[in-house]
């Protein structure tokens, strides 16, 4: 089993290394990784649905110069470098900013767009006039973007988001004070949306140069750079820039920085063991425990309502179960965190996650509890009635203790799923285990090490829960003939 896994990984790596100029030339195709959700650089035209944008047009022009066909592979930004390393495409065209860390790890081309860092705030917020004013403020940043580091070094608290649009949403909702990004992106946003609720409050002083990224030693750089130089000389880059940004951001060839030594993988894991454990103790475990307890209470109520002879009551319970089980948990999280503010209900990340997970557990566990209660013979209800018990007492003293024996194995499944589902809270700014791993992996590109460590943490929690389940089951079975 393990051997097969190792072989697969080796195979995948092999394919990644085998890419490069020979492969591009022989296949006649340049495979380009891009987000497809990052207007106006890489997005789908709302009228035609076609993939378009600044980076898309540049990549097409480059492919033309190389005499090959451009094939785009759409990949979320947070996994775009992992996908590049695993050989899913040859280059990334997605406003990749040149940094020393990236240069150490990848082949970066000459820049095809140049901008500068700017700080965006709400239009009516005058408290930020320079980079220094960010100290103590909250900014929303994509964790893998270099702007997160700029904000962090300026003393800002960084909330992790999926992209620029989400950052602007959080800014407008008052959940964060600012977001730092490239002037190119900000001007493009302001131009396309006519949003007047936000403004550029200050510049960070950093120049940002955007380039293609290819795998290390891909052999693609000479050809890519030649193409970019030619496209700059013949005015193509300037034309593309005008088309999408209403400004010329094509820039000139920069000086390339020197590569910083990468920290060793072992040290990186050791450095992050405690931060990840802390995230587990302060977020993942409390999220799981609180949501499970509240969820069980909801589930019991829903299960009893579902069994009620009153049609309205049982109908409401049935609908609840149907909606919870019929919609993705991620969508439920987004509805509570991102959609409710539109109705004026703004809930902080942690409580929002608790609400979503509790409701979710409530829906699933309700059916488990209902079937467990149904499995108790009618004679038990009758015996309790004849000794004078009323409904709540019967439930509490006679039915639920017996039903719990039936319900514990499936409820343990629900609990163990919940442990892992809490990783979804990372998408609504809860800094739990997975988010901590993402943040550690982003600047270092050590995805395997960091996500592997996170996986180990989750597994250990679930292992502990499985042992506990065994103990509970043995205890509940003491009155059953063996």
């Amino acid at each position: 089993m393990l051997g097969v896994l190792v072989a697969l990984v080796a195979l995948a790596c092999g394919q990644g290394a085998e890419g490069g100029s020979d492969r591009v030339a022989s296949a006649g195709v340049l495979r380009i990784g891009t987000e497809g959700t990052y207007a106006p650089f890489s997005y789908h035209d709302s009228a035609t649905g076609a993939l378009s944008g600044y980076d898309i047009d540049v990549a097409r022009a480059v492919a033309d110069k190389l005499g090959v066909r451009a094939e785009f592979v759409e990949t979320p930004w947070d996994s775009i470098f992992a996908a590049l390393e695993s050989g899913r495409f040859d280059v990334v065209a997605n406003q990749v900013t040149i940094t020393p860390e990236r240069q150490a790890k990848y082949d970066l081309s000459k820049p095809y767009a140049v901008g500068e860092g700017v700080i965006v705030t709400r239009a009516n917020d005058n408290s930020i006039k320079s980079l220094n004013d960010l100290s103590g403020k909250i900014t929303a940043q994509s964790v893998t973007s270099n702007w997160a580091e700029v904000a962090r070094q300026a003393g800002a608290k960084v909330e992790a988001v999926e992209g620029f649009t989400q950052a602007i949403t959080l800014l407008n909702q008052g959940r964060v004070d600012a977001t730092v990004n490239d002037s190119i992106a900000v001007f493009a946003y302001l131009a396309t949306t006519n949003d007047t609720s936000v403004k550029i409050a200050a510049k960070t002083g950093q120049r940002s140069e955007q380039a293609f990224a290819a795998g290390k030693n891909s052999g693609l750089l000479p050809e890519l750079n030649r193409a970019i130089t030619e496209l700059g000389a013949d005015g193509t880059l300037a034309r593309i820039s005008e088309k999408y940004l209403k400004a010329d951001a094509s820039g000139t060839a920069p000086q390339q920085g020197t590569a910083a030594p990468a920290p060793s993988t072992v040290k990186l894991i050791l450095d992050n063991l405690w931060p990840m454990a802390r995230a587990t103790i302060t977020a993942t475990i409390p999220l799981t425990a609180i949501s499970f307890v509240i969820g069980l209470v909801i589930a019991l109520g829903v299960a009893l309502a579902r069994m009620s002879p009153n049609r309205l009551v049982s109908g409401v319970a049935r609908s609840y179960i149907s909606i919870i089980r019929g919609t993705p948990l991620l969508v439920q999280l987004f509805l509570i965190f991102y959609a409710l503010p539109e109705l004026g209900i703004k809930i902080d990340p942690f409580p929002a996650a608790i609400i979503a997970f509790s409701l979710n557990v409530g829906g699933y566990a309700a059916e488990v509890i209902r079937s467990a209660i149904s499995s108790i013979p009618k004679g038990q209800w009758e015996a309790a009635q004849t000794i004078g018990m009323k409904y709540p007492t019967t439930l509490r003293r006679i039915i639920l203790p017996q039903a719990s024996r039936v319900a514990v194995p499936p409820l343990s499944n629900t609990l163990i799923s919940l442990v892992k589902d809490t990783s979804l809270a990372s998408t609504i700014l809860v800094t739990e285990l997975l988010r901590t791993a993402q943040v550690a992996a982003a600047p270092t590109f050590e995805f395997f090490a960091m996500y592997g460590t996170a996986a180990a943490y989750y597994w250990v929690i679930c292992l502990a829960l499985s042992f506990w389940q065994g103990r509970v089951e043995r205890r509940l079975e003491r009155y059953v003939a063996r």
Partner: protein
Amino acid sequence: MSTPTLVTVADVTKSFGTNAVLKGVSFEVPTGSVTTIIGPSGSGKTTVLRSLNALERPDTGVITIGEVRVDFSTDIPEAEFYRFRGQSGMVFQAHNLFPHKTVLQNIIEGPVIVQRRAADEARADAIDLLRSVGLDGKQDQYPYQLSGGQQQRVGIARALALKPKLMLFDEPTSALDPELVGEVLAVIKDLATQGWTMVIVTHEIRFAQQVADQVLFTDGGVVLESGPPSSVIGAPKQERTQQFLRRILDPL
């Protein structure tokens, strides 16, 4: 010799959907007497018994047990309903012991949780009751560790622990292996000699004959024939009663 009446059942009816199970049942049970109900399956005898405990709620009719009178054609206040139910203790065919509780916990559950009696006192009573049904020393066992006959005797002790005025038995030996029937019937006979008022649904005709002061023969949702065992079982007047007894006593 005339004894006071404990139970009066007057014109009780009950339907399940369109199926009329009881079509006007009336009888009386004198204090301290034993009444057995016999009859073919589907005749309504179990429904009559369950009505006495309101496990089955009659559609119409009046049942009086001791000082509690309930008219089922009217709305019954909840407190009155539970007072009515508290008059009797029920022993089931399938014992229905609580499997997650020990013998002792099964017996004291009603007295302590429902009647709010002191746990010490209820426990002492339970030990006495266990001795009287021949289960000395079994108090800490779980039901699954007992034989069928022992389980049924715990069921009897559980009902007795509530100190009801009336004891109800729903075919208490039907689910038992034949060799275990005797020990349960012996306990019931013992209760009869102690002066308990009891209503027993049974297929044990010989037992009914020995223990009963009054036998009710039900058929088609009514009491077709009633009287002392010497007449209803010994010399039945109704042809249906004769047929039934022939089939039961001489099945071949």
